[in-house]
Subunit: 247 residues, 2 copies
Amino acid sequence: MEIIQSTANKTIKNLVKLHQKKYRDIENKYLIEGEHLIQEAKEAGVLKAVYSLSSYDVGVKNVLCSQEVLNKLSQQNSNAKLIGVCKKDETPTFPCDHILILNDIQDPGNLGTLLRSAYSFGFQKVILSENCVDLYNSKVIQSSQGALFHLQIQKRNIEQWIQEAKEENYTVYATALHDHSKYLNEICFQKKTALILGNEGCGLPLSLIEQCHECIKIEMAAFESLNVSIAGSICMYKAFIQQDQTE
Amino acid sequence: MEIIQSTANKTIKNLVKLHQKKYRDIENKYLIEGEHLIQEAKEAGVLKAVYSLSSYDVGVKNVLCSQEVLNKLSQQNSNAKLIGVCKKDETPTFPCDHILILNDIQDPGNLGTLLRSAYSFGFQKVILSENCVDLYNSKVIQSSQGALFHLQIQKRNIEQWIQEAKEENYTVYATALHDHSKYLNEICFQKKTALILGNEGCGLPLSLIEQCHECIKIEMAAFESLNVSIAGSICMYKAFIQQDQTE
């Protein structure tokens, strides 16, 4: 079996380009790292190849490489063991009652963590605005812990999307400090719930807030704001618990 | 007024060493970045000097530097504007009912976010195990949004600390999947509450879990675990809300 020893190898050079969004978009592929994600990607049917130090059989093409080559493919640490190549897939569509909408989330860790929480709390569909950080950024994938393989994720214009969601009888909730904001503990989430979170620095624009049915603020002892992935996850947990108790 | 132009300047070289924990420990100092943190540090009385591009008067020594020098001091981006030098302070002590205990948290973003949530939800005291990531790591400080300036934070042996907390009538809660774990929604947090969170990869050791009064698991639709800062923040929010409703 061939072992790729050189970081100058043409295949490796092309794969390294996938560290950049531009090439992920052109090639329709992205890299993942580590056994957990590779297993999740395999189950989701998006895994195309595995690059590894020693033989790793997961039913897709397996290419052996030197440690130096794996480190070149990795964006995480200096001791990479397994790198997977995935193809961007058509996201499945299925009906779901709880939807998360993310407007201009910039931090990859926040986006990944929100996907992980969304999947954990039964928000099976996620809508991303055009200006969100790239879904296939390595930190997003890593902190999602593979949740992105299970969710319906769509990139959309949020204003338009809200209009459509209202026509489909979703109640749309914004998380924002606003004159009409209600405390989370007073919110009774409806069966069809869409929850919108805004950018880390500047929150949601007023034009979006005004389109929503309700505005949520989280009770706090001090400070004015929480990390967006914390605020979003607390709201999703609450909606999940309420639904669980109603059913 | 003197302007430091060279990254080879001796003062600058010594400040750059504060990027490493070893030197923060020796010098008992650390760096912070950006206006928000500098204001918070000033109010907390720990700010000693500000290095800036143009004059910045906040009542402490102000040193002007070139952009190149500021970038050398920064650990965040290539366009740093304000760097503050703080001294590690004796943490204040005051009685408080809700305490967060962090055992071997490794990710700086998680530690910082947990401090921000702790302060937001009235957990005014935080106990760190010896193996937690350094509190004065720049990412910890940044993601805490300055919460570390408001909290009582102590480094302790967690097993010993739990014994003392029990003697002071704290009810000690672990977050862990365990035979006896109760769902969060069934937990009635006591007035004196200590909440323990474990390491990102391996959770809490059984020896610590067994010392706790109750073990909490969070209701989920899918997956087995949440990000530790999410799990911890949801528990702290719940404890805060319950206390708020009792008072």
